[in-house]
Symmetry: D2
Subunit: 416 residues, 4 copies
């Protein structure tokens, strides 16, 4: 049993099938690459096997696929940052968090020692910013701050995460630059409480053990809007998930944000141990692990694997579907009565289409009554509902009897 | 008749209805804001009316909505940059273009005088980068380089765009900093041909006249994957549209990329005349115009309008739908025969769901034959087709007769 | 009795005479200037009287002149930095000290948080560098590090310096940026021992109380090559004095090194309390005090006073004398015998002149014997002695009997 | 006959003697060093002999010493910058010149493309600044701007300097970065006239041919306060010479100003062809030539040679003489009459000593009349004269008859 799984039963992952075959093919193709350097900033990282290479994907529907070294444990390092940021957002709200830390890519290394003109670390994905977001989390009577952080990351992963004591002690003994970042942030007025405690809790969270499957589940939880698709637990709100993905988009891959958007386009976060976590919204969570890093500090094979996945498997966030599916399931006219059945997820664009179709239909013919049926609808946003209601009111005003019929339970597509 | 429309008939835009009401409400709400400074770098801009404010949106289905000063003409300025970049991509390919210009946010002002470590301007959305992408476009025997650029921007807008001669002459007479950027790029080995000619063609493209409706149509053309939804013309490939949106995401709003991703999340480009163009992929194109600029050089009311649209109307690119619509329209079993009808846009995630459902169904029951019917499908990606084919091959190998039935014409969801 | 003098007898300073009149005229002329801001980073500084203005000068021969508020005590702040640097040089040598701290002007503010490419603070005159040089000083069994530092600064001043406890406590309580600088230097491998102790000793030395007369005596000690001209004590070697003056030249006035060289040209160091110390080598030490600071952090009236002194009173280090005084006091020929009496300070240039004169004289005439007499010489450098000896050897070789006659005690102009 | 001497008779330089021996010893010692790279930015430089090594020194009294390749011609390159700056100072005055160019070390490479916050190049020793100072020089009817520049540099060197046409054409054909710097400065409002013409004249001045002896004479002219010690021609004012030396001190050795001040302390300027010119005020001018450059762009052997000269031969500008020579040649009392003979160069410090001695003498004894005799004085500064006059007035006021007796011609030590 592997030390990363901490005595629990391993999750069920698919062992065969065409999706597993896709991942295996990528692993085979990239395994021979030899570029990059294993990080040596602490002995625990320097000793990593440069040939280790694992890849996992978890779909928004909760199916789990993996290939290569999918059981190897490694310390999560900077991949923890988006999750602690998400915790801070949940506890303090977007505006309060960003009074303490910026949101811009720094164009500088992850350990850059600079604050923005408002005295804040540039963003929560660099060390200084992560130390500050850590400082914003409160401990509780029954649980220390770190235990709360560990609990949330464990909920994202769907299993209890253990800590690598040696890595923690190494970082605690040598991490003076991170202490400098902490004192600098305190001088800027944005770090709360004790610098030393915030820095130590930051080292602890970096030392949590994970596998690529853990990363993929964590990513899928973000990609699914905050609900772990394996355990069904809502870990953070949909709104927080969106904010977290946004910050990963601009700041997650160190100073390669632009290249990443162009060539990959999946919100992601990498770490110095060689892990990368990537979350394609509404679609897949992906985890990769391979220790050799490029000059920007990102896993060489990890970057290549995500480029292939994005290029070949429709995961780019700006991919444009060939034709948006029509939200109108059927539109039936019987005499003066128009009966419209909607389907799928009704967002503002879908509602605009419905309104437009309704307006045309009512213009063209002698319609005296309109019913819009929502029973096939999977969700409807507040904006879409407002638009539909406004149109029905307009029709009413124009002498057409108009109503909306909806089931008792419908998913109000709210983010909070 | 306004000088921006150059003798053509104005486009039909909706004059009433709930979507227009949404835009009008935003205009009313933001009109009283008085922050910001009108740009004064040339007299033609300095004379702009600080109260001018227009807003337009064009849906991916080609419907056009507007409010406020929707007929006021202004020079397009930096909003031309993504379109010239797209032209360069079409002519030279992604790798060749990016051998001449980077793709990273610069963290510096739009007219920053720096090259990256490879001697390239940081990205094509800053002046230096736009001068370089201009230099990559070739003239033809029958048409000068600038006439070709004007023709492409006109295709994006769906009407012929005229040039403001006074603005052009002002910039040509005083734009020494841009000449410096051109010579610097030439020294870096990335500008082709004559510096002076590239700079003058850059000034010409910046001096093209547009309205907010033009910007919205241009944006909708990007949002629809390169096809102008009003004229039906394919202006650029879907792949080029995606690349252009990617670069706008990371570099379009000067040094506010991170804030923009967090608070708006719509790929956008702003210009010094007060215009902003924003393209929500597969959904809406938006144009805004209001001259007063904030410290970053973005229109104050324009930014606020797009924040409202994103927050309230489901346009954030990382918005996670409540539940992805199922790609399986029906699955019918009759004896040992399983008949599966798919629908909508079949991408990799959808195919993964189908494969998973098929595998379960075949496991559960004595199925001897499977048919997958695609006639209700609006598009299918190559990756999705590969995955389905691989699963059908697996079933065949396991003794189940499996086949896919598709209509004569189906949209192969290719980007090129 | 003033708190800065700590119970000692005040020094004798001239009360009248033309030099005092010069200082008084400068004080009168500059007193009306109202620009600048009193520093408010700790309450003890924020409360300073913006009208306080004192000026003192001490000649290399030990005469002491002052005008204005010459008894007001203020904390020495950054003006302590050159003296702690000098201590480190004495204890560790030039190369060892500069393995820990650079020597280049940083072009950045005094509290800039950056290290050079070798991981060292840019120079010992910025906070980070001063904390590092402090860390290089060792405590002794009988005296703490700070007591040793205080003792050396007191020797420079010629009286015991007291510490302002309130200023020290304020800085210790709020100086997190300086702690950040300390940890950063420790991470760079250049700070020795405990960060917290080095930072506290740095705060203590900054809190030592001085008057402008103290600053002038301290400066005169540097200007005289390390010997306090009032007490006669050698505090540091001549070589260390030169190195200290060199670093003050390039790094002493924050990011105004070039302007300072051009307009003043006297090695100087300023502090946030409004003091400036300036040392014109071999000539005068000057102290000024006036709390309001300019944007670069230098005392407004202090800078103006030193500009006047330099412009009008021959203190610029690059001032070129109208004609260097001849080192030949007399050259007498009697028959074949040439008798040459030298005078003053014989450096390499002087020796070159003597050699050249000797060569001519011997060429021109039938000289068979040469004697060089040094009894009027005040000092002779090693290089000069070598040159003279080589010439006498050449003469000997050419058949001219040549010798040098010198008194029992002559000042060998060695720097160590 | 060497191409650098342009048909003129070579100057007389000493061929033997102990000073020549010093230079020869340095050449021998450093010849074996093999570090550094010959510049390859134009073919004319790339072809330089890496073993070429010459060294020359010219004393303030006009004696000329050399060793090694003292007749090899090379293009002056950036070593021309201080002289064009000096010309601009003479024509436009200090304040006007520095309204167009700063005076701070840039901490960046010589071809750095940045302006300071006032829109000026950082200093006149970087390319951008030198192009601007060139643009400030006016042509005349009879002579082009370049011919005027060539004439002034020739006066500094004491012979007509020729131009290397090939080097000029190479730079003119490829120097786009310098054109960028020119346009940037024009955009900043600090370059006058045509960018292209200023850049071409800059390239022409860089292509002037010199030898190490030329550099040493040019340096000696600066060191002597603007009078060429070989030809006796006053080329610039003493004040301009001081300003030029000041800017060389802070900005002459690229980004090594601090190290240079610490280890060498002689105002200097280096060039990409491997030349270094160094001027020890009132003492020696030195020229060195050796093509291989270190990372900062300074000649490796050149830097080493100047370190040795400074360390061993008393040339550091902050060298403190063991004891300043007394300005009092004799002080004789006969009855109530005090007769004081002064000598040498009387500056403020000397005058202060005289005043102090007079005051003591008058205090101690019944003196009724004082005469100060200046016939042995080589120069007297205005400040010194004021101080003496003030003291004599004070004595007069106290009832002592006091007067100053001076020869008809005395060198008023004015800088203008």
């Amino acid at each position: 049993m592997d030390e990363g799984t901490d005595g629990q039963e391993p999750r069920t992952t698919e062992e065969t099938g065409p999706v597993v075959a896709v991942l295996e093919r990528i692993c085979e193709e990239l395994a021979p690459r030899r570029e990059g350097q294993v990080s040596d900033f602490i002995p625990e990282l320097a000793g990593a096997d440069p040939n280790a290479f694992g890849l996992a994907a978890v779909s928004a529907h909760g199916r789990c696929y993996s290939a290569g070294d999918d059981e190897a444990a490694f310390t999560v390092q900077s991949v923890s940052k988006p999750f602690v940021y998400a915790m801070a957002l949940e506890e303090r709200g977007l505006d309060d968090v960003h009074a303490h830390v910026g949101a811009e890519p720094s164009g500088e290394p992850f350990n850059a020692i600079s604050l923005d003109e408002q005295g804040r670390p540039e963003n929560p994905m660099i060390n200084a910013g992560a130390i500050v977001t850590t400082s914003l989390i409160r401990g509780e009577e029954s649980r220390s701050r770190f235990e709360r952080i560990r609990a949330v990351l464990s909920s994202f992963a769907g299993r209890h995460l253990s800590m690598d004591e040696d890595s923690y002690r190494s970082e605690a003994g040598t991490g003076h630059r991170n202490r400098a970042l902490g004192y600098l942030s305190m001088a800027g007025g944005v770090l709360e409480g004790s610098v030393e405690e915030a820095v130590l809790d930051y080292f602890r969270q970096c030392a949590l053990n994970v596998t690529v499957v853990d990363l993929a589940v964590m990513a899928a939880t973000l990609a699914s809007g905050g609900v772990n698709p394996l355990t069904g637990e809502r870990v953070i709100s949909r709104r927080t998930a969106r904010h977290t993905l946004s910050v990963m988009t601009s700041c997650g891959m160190y100073d390669r944000a632009g290249e990443w958007a162009l060539r990959v386009g999946i919100p992601a976060k990498s770490g110095v141990s060689g892990g990368i976590l990537a979350a394609a919204p509404g679609s897949f969570g992906v985890g990769v692990f391979s220790p050799p890093l490029d000059h920007a500090g990102n896993s060489v094979r990890g970057v290549a694997a995500l480029e292939q996945l994005s290029e070949n498997y429709d995961l780019h966030m700006l991919r444009i579907p060939s034709e948006p599916p029509s939200p109108v399931h059927s539109m039936t006219r019987a005499g003066g009565t128009l009966d419209v059945h909607l389907r799928g997820d009704i967002d503002f664009l879908a509602a605009e289409q419905v309104v437009s179709r309704l307006a045309e239909a009512v213009d063209d013919a002698r319609v005296t009554s309109v019913t819009v049926e929502l029973e096939r609808v999977s969700g409807i946003s507040q904006a879409a509902r407002s638009l539909l209601t406004a149109e029905l009111d307009d029709l009413d005003g124009a002498g057409v009897e108009a109503s909306m019929s909806e089931p008792a339970v419908i998913n109000e597509d709210s983010e909070d």
